[in-house]
Amino acid sequence: MSAPRIELRGVSKRFGNVVAVDRVDLSIAAATVHALVGANGAGKSTLGRMIAGAIAVGEGQILVDGEPVDFASPRDALAHGVALIAQELALAPDMTVLENVYLGVEPRKAGIVARGELRARFDALLESTGFDVPRDAAVRTLSIADQQKVEILRALSRGATVIVMDEPTSSLTRDEAQRLHRLIRDLRTRGVTIVYVSHFLDEVLALADEVTILRNGRLIRTGPASAETEATLVTGMLGHSASADYPARKPAPPGAPLLRVRGLRRAGILRDIDLDVGAGEIVGLAGLVGSGRSELARALFGADPIDGGTIELAGEPVGHLTPTRAFDLGIAMVPESRKEQGLLLDQPVAANTTLPFLRRRSRIARFGWLAKRAEREQVRTLLADLSVKPQSPTALVKTMSGGNQQKVLFGKCLFGEPRVLILDEPTRGVDVGARRAIHELIGALASRGVGIVLISSDLEEVLGLAHRVLVMRRGAIVAEFGADPSMDAVMEAAFGVEQTAGAAQ
């Protein structure tokens, strides 16, 4: 056994109050493929990025070939032979493949790029790797898979011997992914060490020599991939769930669905979605990041266009849906990111809360003229109901805490007394107290007859609140569970683990 190529000693990373990576010790042997796996938010990407210098190490020490390093940037890491292939590729789209590969390190003669020598080097590099990319094509004309090859070539041309790949196959077709895997195996035989961050367990098992499982930022175990199955990986990633308490669920009243969706699709994003939401029912959508959950939410609200399918509300087709029309019909959404998509931070609470309802609420606006006093009174009542602090309609949103901002965002939906409420990450970035309050609010709304679609990366939250859980994977709903399904079953569906298979193919 050779000495570790990369070694981590007690590496931690915090973002604000969130511990993303917690005291991880890890050794990665040379010329191996080492996979990092974990659920959403487990810290696998953060760890990979720290190894490649894209995120500064919080505490602890990283060693390369036994030498302590402290990378200031990805460029610094590359000088030590460690390269990062990120999810979003970092290429100059209008330059050629050749120019991208040697950008910034072109061989020069008297200050002028020696193109002949450059081409010779490039051809030698292609030959040694067996890659096949057109040398003089503009990068923007290439497929994602080929662009990835350009990034790999760029790393190799600078002498990289460790390559960290962060979810490299998430934008690839199955075929392209398999070709990438062949390339990775070739690189390994040539002595390159690959750190492979992925949530596709089948890929990990087929490709990796060793697997490290992370959960909530902690290292659970590292071991040979041959000793793992998809089922053991999932169990490791989840552990035993510390059951938080959730408000008691009232059973959803039976009856015709309030929201009925059939055959909803959007090219490349949503595939043939059927969905029913009853009055008073909380339907949870589970799935990995990128599985199409948020895209479905946005389609149901009219925020994104759709290519086909029907949406009916209380038996009536909604026709062409836009956010304007959605609010008119009583469909409201709490978007994923409150600061980017939800709130006007420089405006007072009242202006935020009533914004969607200025057109049709004669109580606060008549012929386009605002009744400011009535607006303030009504918003104040709503803020009291939601126990928002400060309870002032004139407070600027940007001065409030994350939890209270999130409540304002809820208030904005509730001001119009919605029939259907779509919640995308309703408790993201709020403290424990506000989280609890929001959970109670969701339960209370359902018991008042509001149909709720709940999306959260926090699977416990979905399972704790929903009457029914639908699992999405690659833009389609792939499984449906009743109340309180086992977390393992939902995760297996989300990861696409075959029901029969306990082992890798």
């Binding site: 836009t322 709130l343 006007l344 405006q347 969607p356 003229w369 805490s401 904005k412």
Partner: protein, 333 residues
């Protein structure tokens, strides 16, 4: 809430999401941005009243307002465009073309048609700007830079370099008649300022303008028809520039004397001086009015004190730099 501020202070500068520090009683950069214009305006008013005996007279003050009615009207409308997240660099060209069109109509048709026609020209040109920047998704800065060439060229094609003189005395009413020294142009400026101030603060449309400029994505997710609101702000800006063009054409009884190029920067400078954020979402018309009058007072004061006009330019330039720097510092927080 004061407690939260204290906590943030205690654990030092590390906190990434520190509670907003502006909530204390201290004067912050945001206060300076929001209310600094009032302080500076009053200070300059007092200084000029003391140093120059002829400054503080009804005659002189009305004169200042009358001379700045056109730029004031344009700046008030520009406030809406900028709060909505846009920029209208074509106001000078619209002003020119509307003045020319109005004079042409006064000569060839009659005065009432000339007055209405000038505003209609502004409306159409503004709508064109708005549609370019929304439907074709061209940044309004570039779209209006391009259309200003088109509009100014069209105006020059009509005049062929010679202003159109209007003999009908009725055409001069707007710019020169009124109630004594209170001309119709001054009344128009006041009316535009009051109406646009109310539109911004008291109507649903005003709310939408703030929403679109503050966070277009959030506005869209709140059911606001973002593009329509943006187009509407450009229509208002076009109409205001048209009205300003008519006023100045009326004042000198001819259209096409001034190509309006100085109005663009003057109006944007006045808006920025008033503390309206050039990034959109924050601002007020009344503060723009103070900005217009502040620049006008500087010019007037320098004239009365017989200081060379190049010093005046230098001084105005620095005033604008300070205002914009304060704005930028306050926005960065």
């Amino acid at each position: 809430m004061p407690q939260a501020v204290k906590v943030a202070g205690a654990d030092g500068g590390e906190a990434t999401i520190a509670p907003d520090a502006s909530r204390g009683r201290r004067v912050t950069i945001e206060h300076v941005r929001d209310y600094g214009i009032i302080v500076v305006f009053i200070a300059l008013f007092v200084v000029l009243s003391i140093t120059s005996p002829s400054f503080l007279s009804v005659d002189n003050l009305l004169n200042i307002v009358r001379q700045n009615a056109a730029v004031g009207i344009i700046a008030c409308a520009a406030t809406l465009v900028i709060i909505g997240g846009g920029f209208d660099l074509s106001v000078g060209a619209v002003y020119f073309l509307a003045g020319v069109a109005s004079a042409w109509l006064a000569v060839h048709v009659n005065v009432p048609v000339a007055l209405v026609g000038g505003i209609v020209v502004g409306l159409l040109l503004g709508a064109f700007n708005g549609l370019l920047s929304t439907r074709l998704n061209i940044s309004s800065f570039l779209a209006t830079l391009a259309t200003s060439l088109v509009f100014a060229g069209a105006g020059a094609a009509i005049t062929k370099g010679f202003p159109i003189t209007v003999d009908d005395p009725g055409f001069a009413t707007l710019g020169t008649k009124g109630f004594g020294r209170l001309t119709w142009s001054v009344i128009a400026f006041v009316a535009v300022a009051v109406v646009l101030q109310l539109v911004l603060t008291r109507t649903t449309f005003g709310r939408y303008v703030f929403a679109v400029g503050g966070n277009a994505e959030a506005a869209r997710n709140s059911g606001v028809r973002v593009d329509r609101i943006r187009v509407a702000t450009f229509v208002i800006s076009g109409m205001a520039a048209g009205l300003a063009g008519i006023i100045d054409a009326s004042t000198v009884s001819s259209g096409g004397n001034d190509d309006g190029s100085s109005l663009i920067l003057a109006s944007i400078a006045a808006v920025a001086l008033g503390g309206t954020s050039i990034f959109g979402g924050i601002g007020a018309v009344w503060k723009t009015v103070l900005g217009v009058l502040l620049l006008a007072m500087i010019a007037n004061g320098f004239d009365l004190l017989s200081i060379a006009s190049y010093f005046q330019d230098i001084f105005e330039g620095f005033v604008i730099i300070v205002a914009v720097a304060i704005n930028s510092l306050a926005t960065k927080r």
